[in-house]
């Protein structure tokens, strides 16, 4: 009979309950979407941050040639200590001269790693994707303008008595010093400058928390006393603080939404409690205890919360897919583990919103049956 009464209660008051259900579905949709994103957001944001490039720089002490490090030894240490997923790229800078004897900064690096280490580069033309490509170079946009270079142009660079001939593969727009430099693969620059096995620095893209990055930098300092390892704090700390802020924002919004949903259910239930005074008065007159009567109404509210939770989760899944694409430009998949959480939260909110049903305990059947 309990189930039958419950069903008739839901059917008999479907108009008013629909208002509460809409609020619960709305709340559930936003909450489940936020949970879905919260779970994925760290991963997605880390990927986004990774696109900001290097976050640790390892360079030698001193100035001029004294500041140069041995490539083979340094890379060996870095490879041993680096956390999984780290991307490293060595750099060597020399000042070369053009055929017209104009000075230009020539940077040697592993150009196949440029997309990971310097992802902000916009390249007009072709990127260089092979580390053993010795015939192509990339030139910064200011260098290209100065020497009237376009993709496909030839560029001759001299260093002391050595000459290298390049074909310009692409023009870099970086918005920084790189716009004034020419980039070629490290081996070419080492060969041209005669600085074999020498590098000026290694840029590293390290994954992990700011603490993990700091710890890695400290280990490098110990292992390479002649070198200096510096986390690029602006990026690594921003990552941590932004993630914490996003998490705080999501929790605050979730609480706010839960509160608003609860208030809407509260208002509906307050109106429903007034409407049901006559029914409750009658039920009491028939021998129904207030506990049994209120349990019936609470079950009704719980069903409402559960249905709202399921529908809210479904709408939230759509919202997750939409927001993932719009906000992060990636696919964020709705998580099944969010479903029970959404249902539990919506049932809890609905029950909390059903507080006005307590008023029914004060209903005097004799007064109600008199029609007052």
């Amino acid at each position: 009979m309990f189930g039958r009464l419950l069903w008739q209660l839901l059917r008999g008051n479907r108009g008013r309950l629909a208002v509460a259900l809409v609020a619960i579905v709305g709340g559930g949709a936003v909450i489940s979407a936020m949970f879905n994103m919260e779970i994925d957001v760290r991963k997605k944001l880390t990927q986004e941050f990774r696109s900001l490039g290097a976050n640790v720089v390892l360079s030698g002490h001193g100035a001029g040639d004294q500041a140069l490090m041995r490539e083979s030894a340094t890379e060996g240490v870095v490879e041993r200590l680096q956390p999984q997923g780290t991307i490293a790229s060595p750099f060597l800078y020399v000042v070369a001269r053009t055929a017209a004897n104009q000075p230009v900064v020539l940077a040697g690096t592993w150009l196949d790693r440029a997309p990971a280490i310097t992802p902000w580069w916009q390249i007009q033309g072709e990127a260089i994707l092979a580390r053993d490509d010795i015939s192509h170079c990339l030139v910064g946009k200011n260098v290209a303008r100065q020497f009237a270079l376009t993709p496909g142009s030839d560029l001759e660079l001299r260093y002391a008595d050595k000459v290298s001939h390049f074909s310009v593969s692409g023009i870099i727009t970086a918005g920084d010093d790189e716009d004034d430099q020419v980039f070629a693969n490290l081996a070419v620059v080492q060969n041209l400058s005669g600085l074999t096995d020498r590098i000026a620095m290694i840029q590293l893209r390290v994954t992990g928390s700011p603490q993990a990055i700091q710890s890695f930098a400290s280990q490098l300092k110990i292992a390479l006393p002649d070198a200096e390892a510096r986390p690029i704090r602006q990026i690594s700390e921003t990552e941590g603080s932004l993630l914490a802020r996003i998490q705080l924002l999501m929790i605050t919004m979730a609480l706010l939404i839960l509160m608003l949903t609860g208030l809407c259910v509260f208002a509906t239930m307050a109106a429903l409690a007034m409407e049901r005074r006559a029914d409750v008065g009658l039920m009491k007159a028939l021998g129904g205890s207030i506990g049994r009567i209120v349990r019936l109404f609470l079950a009704e509210v719980a069903v409402l919360g559960a249905v709202g939770g399921v529908l809210g989760y479904t709408c939230g899944a759509a919202l997750t897919l939409w927001a993932g694409k719009r906000v992060f430009g990636v696919m964020i998949s709705p998580r099944l583990e969010v479903l029970p959480l959404t249902i539990a939260l919506m049932v809890g909110v609905a029950l909390a919103g059903a507080l006005p049903l307590r008023l029914l305990g004060k209903v005097k059947p004799a007064v109600i049956l008199r029609g007052e």
Binding site: M1, L5, Q8, L9, L286, G287, R370
Partner: protein
């Protein structure tokens, strides 16, 4: 000799400065049909509410089936209402979103367990076998009152309390309900009925007249009345 089912002694109910009942004393034997009459405000409904466990007296006692209703706490009154009395109200008071059979089963639910077959038989008995799944809005006033009668009897109460049961009915439906009450009386049910209608009052065994909360007289009605 019939057993005494109801014993009311010095029953008083005061609402603020108003004495709705003022020292009312009377007995009801099991199987009796009592008509309670008097002008509006004479205390009839207050008396029936106290006997039904819907209200509590200020003083005095109202013993029904050996228990003093005045001594019950809220939980005790709830059990008393479920087990000892059946109500028929002037306004029918059916739950609007429940069908006729569900309204009857609601009383079973609060009493103990539901038995749909028994509820169906109760409705068939009041001539509503073809109206089981109708909600109150789909029933006439007379039919609604018959559902209320079926509901009041479903738990086999010791005492049937009827407050103006025909007050909202047309003549035809009034006759149907009166015939039903008469049948119940013949079967041995104890009925305490409030009415303004002397012709209905004459159907009872005795008539209790109240005025200003006081008992005016108890009249035994003979067959020729």
């Amino acid at each position: 000799m019939m057993a005494r089912l109801v014993q009311v002694e010095g029953l008083t109910k005061v609402y603020g400065k108003v004495r709705a009942l003022d020292g009312v004393t009377f007995d009801v034997e099991a199987g009796e049909w009592i008509a309670m009459m008097g002008p509006s405000g004479s205390g009839k409904t207050t008396l029936i509410n106290i006997l039904g466990g819907l209200d509590t007296p200020t003083s005095g006692c109202a013993v029904v089936d050996g228990v003093d209703v005045a001594r019950f706490d809220e939980a005790g009154l709830t059990r008393y209402r479920a087990e000892k009395v059946g109500f028929v109200f002037q306004q029918f008071h059916l739950v609007p979103y429940l069908t006729a059979i569900e309204n009857v089963m609601l009383a079973q639910y609060f009493h103990s367990t539901t038995d749909e077959n028994e509820a169906r038989k109760a409705l068939e008995r009041v001539g509503l076998g073809d109206r089981l799944t109708h909600v109150p809005a789909q029933l006439s006033g007379g039919e609604q009152q018959r559902v209320a009668v079926a509901r009041s009897l479903i738990n086999h109460p010791k005492l049937l309390l009827a407050d103006e049961p025909t007050g909202n009915l047309d003549e035809t439906n009034e006759q149907i309900v009166i015939d039903l009450l008469r049948e119940l009386h013949v079967e041995g049910h104890t009925i305490l009925m409030v009415t303004h209608d002397p012709s209905i009052g004459r159907l009872a065994n005795r008539r209790i007249d109240l005025a200003h909360g006081r008992l005016q007289q108890i009249v035994t009605i003979s067959a020729k009345d």
